[in-house]
Symmetry: C2
Subunit: 338 residues, 2 copies
Amino acid sequence: MAASPSGPRRSTVHDVARAAGVSRGTVSRVLNGGYVSEQAREAIHRAISEVGYVPNTAARNLVRQRTQAVGFIVHEPHSLFLEDPNIGGIMLGANTTLSQADYQMVCVVVDTARDTDRVARYLSGGFVDGAVIVSARHQDPISDVVERLRLPVAFVGHPPGISGAWVGIDNRGAAEAVVTRLRETGRRRIGMIAAALDRDSGSDRLAGFRAALGDAFDPALVEPVDLYAFADGAAGMTRLLERAPDLDGVFAASDAVAAGAMQALRAAGRRVPEDVGVVGFDDSAWATRTSPQLSTVHQPAEGLGAAAAAAVLAQLDGDQSVRTGILLDAPVVWRDSA
Amino acid sequence: MAASPSGPRRSTVHDVARAAGVSRGTVSRVLNGGYVSEQAREAIHRAISEVGYVPNTAARNLVRQRTQAVGFIVHEPHSLFLEDPNIGGIMLGANTTLSQADYQMVCVVVDTARDTDRVARYLSGGFVDGAVIVSARHQDPISDVVERLRLPVAFVGHPPGISGAWVGIDNRGAAEAVVTRLRETGRRRIGMIAAALDRDSGSDRLAGFRAALGDAFDPALVEPVDLYAFADGAAGMTRLLERAPDLDGVFAASDAVAAGAMQALRAAGRRVPEDVGVVGFDDSAWATRTSPQLSTVHQPAEGLGAAAAAAVLAQLDGDQSVRTGILLDAPVVWRDSA
DNA sequence: CGAGAATCTGTGAACGTGCACAGATTGCCA
DNA sequence: TGGCAATCTGTGCACGTTCACAGATTCTCG
């Protein structure tokens, strides 16, 4: 309501009480539980809809010493927020879970590393009762802040060095499943374009690749690149192809990388999937826009968000048994590129 | 802080007052303005950092009768939220503007059309002082709710039938700029694949095309298609090429349409940009994925979010002069396809 | 020097809610 | 019928802040 200058005053619990002919204590009990006669309950419900009563959040928060809000904190460069195909799904999942529990989701996007203390100040400002934190940083300083504040949080992803709850996918297992399937479909010389090896997601995917190949693993078939990006995929594929022209399968660390790789393969005259099978990771919008459509690993983005939110809510309910690490299933989606 | 059970009590304005040897009124004046001696001001600032004081939001909101929060409402199917390349930028822009003004952004994503009353209830619940609404619906019922509540809002996009502030881009002007530039680079027979003529964005882009050509405008060079989609672009380009084989430039109504058109041109043996120059619209992920990369019009997504947020803030400040419609510049990005 | 303005400070009252407590009513059983 | 428990209700206080008001001090100028 706020700034509606001459707007009608919002009705309070007093108005309801007067309309129902009871005291505000009884109204409060109808809303929050406690002994109240059936007769009074009915009269109050009638009065509530009559005067259009909506409880005042601020007053309730003040007396309850909680805000009924959970922060959704993205501590990453803005560019990641815009490009990461999963972040929307994570938000959506978290938001759904939180709003079902009558919590609000408050978004905080923090760009530079220096702004850490802005987040810290925010978290300690009492704006939120807890937080879902999306951050892939190693040794994220937010972790310390959170611990000091004893604020219920859950991380999405599992940057090493953090303590507290986190939710992620089994990157290693999913990568292993993908590569195993590639082998089963007859591929014999399988390479990998490995991105972001400084993050656990990147290194775990490489580990899965290696594990699936076992003795057949050949380090020369791994091409490391910086980012989960299209351009890196294209460049990496070109280099890999020079080194290993006899390649017949590629596991790309992300869909964007896979799309880049497919372009490079086409430029080199290879057909996908006839000559070379390509598999991506993420099951993002890229996957269905390429032709042929990508075989890939589905990131349960909404599930991640939902699970993280649920972990925060459980802590808020005083649940001591919250597991510190939760791994969600990331199923393989087999389409046409392999 | 909320549920930290044995956590130390948060310090209040009373603690600061005691530590500084003044009354809470003086502390409040330091925080909110008013007469206060330099000596007292210093002592209070020292005391604030000493006891680690952070104002309690709920108490402040209660007495001020405002929440210091603005809703970011996406009233669209979840799929749009996930796929629309602009929505992340809009969020980011809105968030930046709001947090600079010390407002929080509260995200609300509403999926089905039936949930309209959930949004209505939310908006009337006093959780937010205003709202940025992203919605392309015609006659969005939220519009009515907002009007009834007299809630300060701003729409991103300009669905017909809404009243109140909105922010969009100058589709007509941008299209005109693109086509003018095409002419300046020597193109003489320029066609357009015009999509979604039933929306204002589509018809405005066509109007800009027409205006840029002036007397040189030839209706036969306009090929109308249904959607801003790849397939429509390809089919439209094929038809247009049959009608006007001497074409040397194409303005496509979106990047996806442009990508389809480029495929059709290639299939017809035309080189881009040597034989035919192609320009798209949106500066979406398509633009940098095609080869050659698309010349296009950049959608200022962050700017749209920021402008919408600013419009809401202006209304909250009681600014009566808020324009109902704001058009943002959409700059032309010249890459390789023309 | 005194009146009035300007500057500074403390106190009380709200904001709307939840909760503890005490009081009132009823029901049950010895 | 008296006593005790169970059920129901009203009142006062607290949450932490802002704001209006009144009182206190200093400054300005006739």
